[in-house]
């Protein structure tokens, strides 16, 4: 009884939010307890984290060449039409088939007809002119020399001539409305200026997300070393930092993922305010209008609410949330269907084929490679051993963190850690359901992955060894970033060009 009671007390302490635990609640034993963040240190840490992330993000902003973000031309095209105040709904479908006077597919590129179907009031000439403007900029910035599968021909007239079956027009409109409003003041500037402006928004979102990741880490850990390790893992993870320098709806999806996870972690740690809950629900609802990959957040939020439903009143609330959530989900699925989202399979056969493809080793290989490091629109990679080493480290970190769910680790909230695992599992599950393994689809769970890394690699160390562990952890992280940026991104984008 006594031992059990002590263990329960330890768990309670570990699960309390950082603000409510630490030195005031459990006085640290000298050189054995992990060091908590004192209020002054907390402010200083926040400032330093944001400054470091800003500099790091700016470095990537300068290093990533124009149009080197995957699908950037399509995303920017969409947003620029919104910036010209075209509504991203109610566009004109293409005419084709037996009973029409003319098959419009013979007149306009498929990518232009798809965008016209999305944007209200936009003319074919406007669509054509925008694509040509973007294509000219791509040629001027040597896009075709960098992306191996795109071919070297530089004079192209529509997006189909890069890839016939790409489009952003089937994506939910949330990100493009935000980006379109951001671009409104520069909507008549050159496309290069608009690209730079759009990328600046990605940097700001990246910075905000780093701050959210820091707050999440503070919910997950009461030990300063773990907090900093998790935050650095988030901010310095190269493909994550690179995402802060490109135009893509994954930028916002990742930010919303971190926000929802942080709010859920706070709730699990004792913050039961309605404001937190409302914010989380709002973020999930908005997320579903941004990208289908944030569907996982709905699951995490639901689990969080269900875990907190300990009284009859809360259980009634949970029932309400269940019904409302199901209705919201059905509404969103219907919306995606009306927007021709490729997320939804056309029939059962297509779904099963997709599932088989999604669960294949090739998909997981691609997922891992493009998560650890892929360049030039994933047409080039790091040396194979890099992925192997990263897989070994990730495997060890994952196993170690998973064991922390069952064994008390000082300064680690097991409930928050479990929530992180749940989000990662849901995120990987979505990739399998989608049948496409692209690393950026994991980004809504990036903050959770960072928590797992920090917990797995540093939490097993005793309290006084963690600062030294943090220094080693950070140094290895910086080295990974150095190899990624200066041994991967920069050489591939600037040294190795096709002719």
């Amino acid at each position: 009884m006594g031992a059990g009671g002590e263990s329960q007390e330890k768990r309670k302490q570990a699960d309390k939010p950082a603000e409510l635990r630490g030195t005031a609640v459990t006085a640290p034993q000298k050189r054995k307890e992990p060091a908590a963040e004192a209020p002054g240190d907390r402010r200083r840490t926040t400032r330093l984290v944001l400054l470091a992330a800003l500099l790091h993000g700016l470095a990537y902003l300068f290093a990533v060449a124009p149009w080197m973000g995957e699908d950037e031309p399509w995303h920017l095209e969409y947003a620029t039409h919104v910036a010209h105040l075209h509504q991203p709904w109610g566009g004109k479908p293409a005419m084709y088939g037996a009973n029409v006077p003319i098959d419009e597919r013979t007149l306009w590129a498929t990518s232009q007809l798809q965008m016209r179907r999305r944007m209200a009031g936009v003319t074919e000439e406007e669509l054509d002119a925008r694509q040509r403007e973007i294509l000219q900029s791509m040629a001027e910035h040597d896009y075709y020399r960098r992306v191996d599968w795109a071919g070297a021909v530089q004079d192209r007239s529509d997006f189909d001539q890069i890839e016939p079956f790409f489009t952003a027009s089937s994506q939910p409109a949330g990100y493009y409305v935000v980006l379109g409003l951001w671009l409104y003041p520069v909507r008549n500037a050159s496309i290069d200026t608009q690209l730079a402006w759009a990328r600046a928004l990605s940097l700001l979102v990246y910075l905000a997300t780093v701050w959210v990741a820091l707050e999440l880490a503070r919910c997950a850990f009461s030990d300063r070393s773990l907090v900093i390790a998790a935050t650095l893992a988030f901010a310095w993870f190269p493909m994550n930092a690179r995402l802060g320098a490109v135009v893509n709806n994954d930028v916002l999806a990742r930010a919303l993922g971190a926000v929802v996870l942080m709010l859920c972690a706070r709730r699990l740690s004792g913050d039961e305010s309605r404001r937190t809950l409302a914010l989380a629900i709002g973020a999930v609802a908005f997320g579903l209008l941004v990208k289908s990959t944030v569907m996982s957040l709905a699951g995490v939020l639901y689990v969080t609410i269900a875990l907190g439903a300990t009284t009859p009143t809360k259980r009634r609330g949970l029932a309400l949330v269940t019904v409302g959530g199901a209705a919201l989900l059905a509404g969103v699925l219907w919306l995606w269907h009306t927007q021709h989202s490729p997320v939804l399979p056309r029939n059962l056969t297509a779904f099963l084929e997709r599932l088989e493809r999604g669960a294949s080793p090739a998909t997981f290989r691609e997922l891992w490679h493009t998560f650890v490091g892929g360049f030039n629109w994933y047409s080039r990679e790091l040396p194979e051993r890099t992925y192997t080493i990263a897989a070994v480290v990730a495997g060890l970190a994952g196993l170690s963190a998973f064991s922390a769910l069952f064994h008390t680790r000082r300064g680690v909230s097991r409930r928050v850690l479990a929530l992180c695992f749940a989000l990662i599992a849901l995120q990987v599950g979505l990739v399998v359901l989608r049948g496409e393994g692209q690393g950026r689809y994991l980004m809504p769970a990036m903050a959770a992955i960072a928590i797992v890394f920090a917990a797995g690699l540093l939490a097993p160390l005793s309290g006084f060894r963690r600062p030294a562990g943090l220094r080693l952890f950070a140094t290895l992280l910086f080295v990974y970033d150095a190899i990624f940026l200066w041994g991967g991104l920069v050489p591939n984008e600037y040294l190795l060009w096709g002719s």
């Binding site: 990537y60 004079d155 007239s157 001539q161 950070a474 050489p491 060009w497 096709g498």
Partner: protein, 338 residues
């Protein structure tokens, strides 16, 4: 500071390690779709390029095995023009040619002053080769039908390019069609011309004509019929008639011949000068090759400076500053210091 310097040293090492891996010129073409076919005796295949740096010392050509006994390959490098003076030569024995789709390297004594010079190389063989070099055709490719598994005999082969439906996917997706490539089984250099005639699919009106040869052999490769650009070709129905010289046949499958359509522009970087076949220059295509010159770190940094300019310098400075600031997070907390 020490940590930041250490990590920066790793970064510099990672960057400079590329000096062995960056060719002077490279046709990067993926996935590789069109091959030139076997090299015939007397009809060497080659390509031209302008060299960026001094110290040109090797040319790699991408080859794929297509059956038969491997032949030794004779390489010649000429300066200035396809018929310019031979400045280097090399030979790769049959046994040294890779058994899989891979680069074949032709190495020679470095040319000390190759920077800014134009070179033309050619690869010849004493007998028809068992390997084919890959080619990159200048246009937007759209694969109508993949390389097939059977011969379609001539002398006249007719067929249609159709939209969807009836096709599961339209045969012509883009506008501005200017070339149709057909998979060719055996077209001897002295066999005469191969002709393509294109008709409107509905009216039957003749739209374009194109001829190949004589003097341009093609065996187990793609024969490119180039004609004046045909603008409105999206989702269009066209009929074609291919007339083959004696002994030649097309390759295809049960649905018809293997075809790749090329649309749109054809402007490629200036440093590649086109393909040669038996001395003829075919400007619309290139062999898939890479040329290696200086591997000095200074050449690498010069290229980085030319292409990246100040933005890369800013990135480096900001990245180093980020390291310095982040390193401060690793020290003891402020209160503990006090």
């Amino acid at each position: 500071m020490l940590r930041a310097l250490l990590v920066s040293a790793v970064a510099a090492f990672a960057l400079l390690a590329w000096r062995e891996r960056v060719p002077d010129v490279e046709i990067r073409y993926a996935p590789r779709t069109t091959q030139a076919g076997r090299i015939f005796p007397g009809f060497a295949l080659g390509s031209g390029f302008a060299c960026e740096n001094d110290g040109l010392h090797a040319v790699d050509v991408a080859f794929a095995p297509i059956g038969g006994d491997p032949q030794p390959l004779e390489f010649e490098l000429r300066q200035g023009a396809p018929d310019g003076p031979v400045v280097r030569s090399a030979r790769v024995e049959a046994a040294a040619i890779p058994a899989s789709d891979d680069w074949v390297r032709f190495e020679f004594e470095p040319l000390t002053s190759s920077a800014g010079q134009r070179f033309w190389f050619s690869v010849a063989a004493p007998e028809r080769t068992a390997h084919t070099p890959w080619t990159r055709y200048r246009g937007i490719p759209y694969v109508v039908r993949q390389w097939g598994d059977r011969a379609i005999d001539g002398p006249v082969i007719e067929g249609e390019l159709l939209p969807a439906p009836p096709r599961p996917r339209t045969d012509l997706h883009h506008a501005d069609l200017h070339t149709l490539a057909f998979a060719m089984n055996y077209m001897h250099p002295q066999a005469g011309e191969a002709r393509l005639v294109l008709f409107d699919g509905v009216s039957g009106e003749e739209l374009r004509r194109a001829t190949i040869g004589p003097g341009l052999p093609c065996d187990t490769g793609w024969a490119f019929f180039r004609f004046e650009k045909l603008g409105p070709t999206r989702w269009r129905s066209l009929k074609y008639r291919v007339e083959l010289p004696t002994g030649a046949s097309l390759i295809g499958n049960a649905d018809g011949p293997s075809i790749v359509a090329f649309h749109g522009g054809s402007q490629v970087p200036e440093e590649v000068l086109g393909l040669t076949c038996g001395g003829q220059v075919l400007e619309q295509r290139d062999l898939v090759f890479r040329a290696w010159s200086s591997n000095e770190g200074s050449a690498l940094l010069a290229r980085l400076s030319t292409r990246g300019g100040r933005t890369i310098l800013f990135a480096a400075i900001l990245w180093f500053l980020a390291l310095l600031v982040a390193a401060r997070l690793l020290g003891r907390p402020q209160e503990a210091d006090a």
